[in-house]
């Protein structure tokens, strides 16, 4: 994957396949510590502890685990290439949390890319799922929540085009403000 935001789109697919209806994404950019952290957390059905090591193994033959494993092993590979690592925590019945660390200025660190595109794509095709996206940059942060938007919309679906366009515009503005002054 050429962008971390594509890895994120892919990892969230695992949460969707695990029947999650609330998915949290946290992106933390800490330049002082030369660290980029991505956390994807869901309330899906989780992974049994004895299966955790197997899901990141791209050579596991069981078709069911391989579907989940391929994306996770690619994400782990991307983090390790930039002197980081990826960790999976999961509790069956409660959910799963994936945390990936990257050395921020590592030349092999894949760029974050079109994160707004990823969020909008997820909302478009999964209007019934709630997403919380928190982005921290140098101590500043913003939080985006589909629950908040749905409360405002009432009976209007979140994936109507005018609403999606508004979300896209709003997220772009939030990101610009977040990075503002530093870029």
């Amino acid at each position: 994957m050429r962008e971390l935001s594509l890895h994120i789109l892919d990892i969230v697919q695992n949460s969707i396949a695990a029947d999650a209806d609330l998915i949290k994404l946290i992106i933390r950019e800490d330049i002082a510590k030369n660290l980029l952290i991505i956390v994807i957390e869901d309330n899906g059905k989780g992974i049994e502890s004895e299966d955790i090591s197997r899901v990141v193994d791209p050579f596991v033959t069981s078709r069911k685990t391989r579907e989940v494993g391929l994306g996770l092993s690619l994400f782990r590979e991307a983090s390790r290439r930039s002197k980081g690592d990826m960790k999976i925590e999961s509790e069956p019945g409660k959910g799963t949390r994936i945390t990936a660390y990257f050395e921020y200025n590592n030349i092999d660190r894949v760029p974050l890319g079109d994160i707004v595109g990823t969020i909008v794509a997820l909302i478009t095709t999964n209007p019934e799922i709630d997403f919380i996206y928190r982005h921290v940059y140098e101590g500043r942060e913003f939080v985006f929540s589909t629950e908040e938007i749905k409360a405002e919309l009432g009976d209007v679906s979140i994936n109507e085009y005018p609403v999606l366009n508004w979300i896209e515009k709003n997220l772009n503005e939030e990101l610009r403000d977040l990075y503002g002054g530093d870029l």
């Binding site: 994957m1 594509l6 789109l9 892919d10 697919q13 969707i16 396949a17 579907e67 391929l70 994306g71 690619l74 079109d114 595109g117 990823t118 794509a121 478009t124 095709t125 999964n126 939080v143 985006f144 929540s145 908040e148 938007i149 405002e152 919309l153 009432g154 009976d155 209007v156 994936n159 109507e160 085009y161 005018p162 609403v163 999606l164 366009n165 508004w166 709003n170 503005e173 939030e174």
Partner: protein
Amino acid sequence: MKSLEELRELRSKVQKDLEMRSNSERPKIIIGMGTCGIAAGARKILKAVMKEIDKRGLDVIVTQTGCIGMCEKEPLLDVKMPGKDRVTYGNLTPADVKMIIVEHVINGNVVEDLAIARFDEGGN
């Protein structure tokens, strides 16, 4: 979140549009969002789909599906018109998306050059 007032205005506008919408079954576009689909450009294809639908004011449901085991043909997109077979298109570019929407979704003709599979879903 900023400008929630803007959202309130949008809401009443969308509600008016919804009232005018017919109750008949809507066409469906399904994007393959498995790992290799995403790596092959599924997000770009989805973006192109949204742009065309929005530009032409079409009433279409856009949804996603996971891995269907056709890696070498990614990115993939299916069109399901009401009462017709579900058609899978593969090896897509954003330009193909425009053609599929005009030819298949609007005019009702399958784009044979791009179609790679057809499923009878009993008219659903």
